[in-house]
């Protein structure tokens, strides 16, 4: 712990508990280590610039950063970028939401009711193992070719890791603590809420770290298959019209979305798992 942090903790003591945690999180977010990544990114940018200007690779393989930046400004100005972003974001978040509900419920019941493990797992793996491309037509017939099909694809790609993480988390709950809850006559909902959920939180949040990135990929994959908007569409069209600037832009923004969602989960984790940092 740095001396600054200790000093900060002193200030903390004067604040109310809720505020304190609020501050602590902001403090952790403003950690100097967070500036390492931007600096490395800048280094990578310089390298990109240098390589692009050296002419080592043709423009259509490695576009000049300025070209991408120009394309960004252009698409930002005419609002199309925002539109693509919104569509993809909506698809992936909706997919994530559906996947989360399904995965958490399934994960919980499978972890708790042993026999379901034997009954359900084969079919769930079947669902997981089918390549999306192979069932895309069926999805389109069922839910229609519009945004719904992409949401379904995003959810399909997302749910499994979250479910497995939930199972691991719930199974990891200490039997001693379970017994303690039972001795205190907790009903199943209370056991879930006061014991299982907080205890499985590290695993579930890990599952969400995987899930958020997958939901974005899922949305993009859905857009690859069929669409007329969204970042996946931007990439597909960019590739088909030999416009690497669009492809780069699409990939960069996709990454930015994934990273943002990941960071959101990481911040939630910082808050929910603060007890893990206690006493060390």
């Amino acid at each position: 712990m740095t001396s600054l942090e200790i000093q900060f903790k002193r200030i903390n003591t004067k604040l109310s508990s809720t505020w304190r945690f609020g501050w602590q999180i902001i403090w952790r977010i403003l950690d100097w280590r967070l500036f390492i990544a931007p600096m490395i990114t800048y280094g990578i940018y310089r390298y990109w610039l240098h390589t692009a200007e050296s002419g080592r690779y043709p423009k259509f393989i490695l576009p000049h950063p300025d070209t991408v930046w120009l394309r960004f400004q252009e698409m930002y100005a005419d609002g199309s970028l925002l539109l693509h972003l919104k569509v993809t974001l909506r698809e992936s978040l909706s997919g994530l939401l559906i996947a989360s509900v399904i995965a958490l419920v399934l994960g919980y019941v499978i972890a708790r009711i042993r026999i379901l493990n034997y009954i359900l797992i084969p079919y769930l793996i079947f669902l997981q193992a089918i390549p999306v491309v192979a069932i895309a037509p069926i999805i389109i017939i069922w839910v229609g070719p519009d945004i719904k099909s992409k949401i379904v694809i995003a959810a399909l790609i997302t749910w499994f890791p979250l479910m497995v993480s939930t199972i691991v988390g719930i199974r990891n709950v200490s039997p001693q603590l379970r017994e303690m809850m039972r001795a205190n006559v907790a009903n199943p909902l209370q056991v879930f809420w006061h014991l299982e959920l907080p205890s499985a939180m590290p695993e579930i949040l890990g599952g969400f770290k995987i899930a958020v990135t997958l939901s974005v990929i899922g949305a993009a994959v859905g857009e690859f298959i069929s669409s007329r908007e969204g970042l996946g569409y931007l990439i597909v069209v960019g590739r088909s019209i030999s416009d690497p600037a669009s492809v780069f832009l699409g990939v960069i923004i996709l990454t930015a979305i994934s990273l943002t969602l990941y960071i959101i989960v990481a911040v939630i984790e910082l808050f929910l798992l603060r007890w893990k940092r206690a006493g060390s």
Partner: protein
Amino acid sequence: MSQFVLAVENVSHTYTTTDGQVVKALHEVTLCLSPKTFTCLVGASGSGKTTLLRIMAGLIRPKSGQVLLNGKPLRQPQRRISLVFQRDTLLPWRTVRQNVALPLQLAGVDRKKRFMQADQLLDLMGLSEFANAFPTELSGGMIQRVNIARGLITQPDILLLDEPFGALDALTREQLWRELLLIWGRTHATVLMVTHDIREAIFLSQRVMVMSTRPGHIVKEVEVPFDYPRHFDLLTDPIFIQKEAQVREAILADRLSSSRLG
């Protein structure tokens, strides 16, 4: 407040370990906790005391025999029965106050009220300063005191304590004896306490039961004739010392009959 009788009838229990060994933990144990009594249970390590308490709390079903609460078979944990665990069973993501308030929260008591009661008990346990600390920030003895506070907060009719004072220094321990007797006097709960300290057992209880080594069964019951409130002078009372010797002998006799300790 109505009166509760918890009776254990011919209870036997075995565990099967992963390597296939069958451990006989309890063998035909019979005992009855009359209302408003204070009983202590002493016995060698591994003799089945914790197992018996878990059975009496409704946490495990004995392999044979039964537990009766007011004549009705006890099938699952009851809110009126409170068990203070031997091992650390605090929730690590809850602060001390939240941990102590847990049983009230589960019973649906609102936040303000349960925190108030928790704070009172923490004060009693000398832990007011640590109400907002997490369990990992406590010393061994402090954890045990939080454990006790959590067991007391529901003001149970039947209180089962599993070595509550094991990790406490002599003075804290004696102070908590007093507090426990005061609470018991006020609420007249039925108390069954497991302890390794024979003096503690005699000082606190009306009856000391001695459990034999594996398979555990009750080999001796010693009545303690002193009135409450009790004072520390008692510890040097000849009758006290005689009772102590009695209990000691009972344990020793059992130990000698089995070849080795454990």
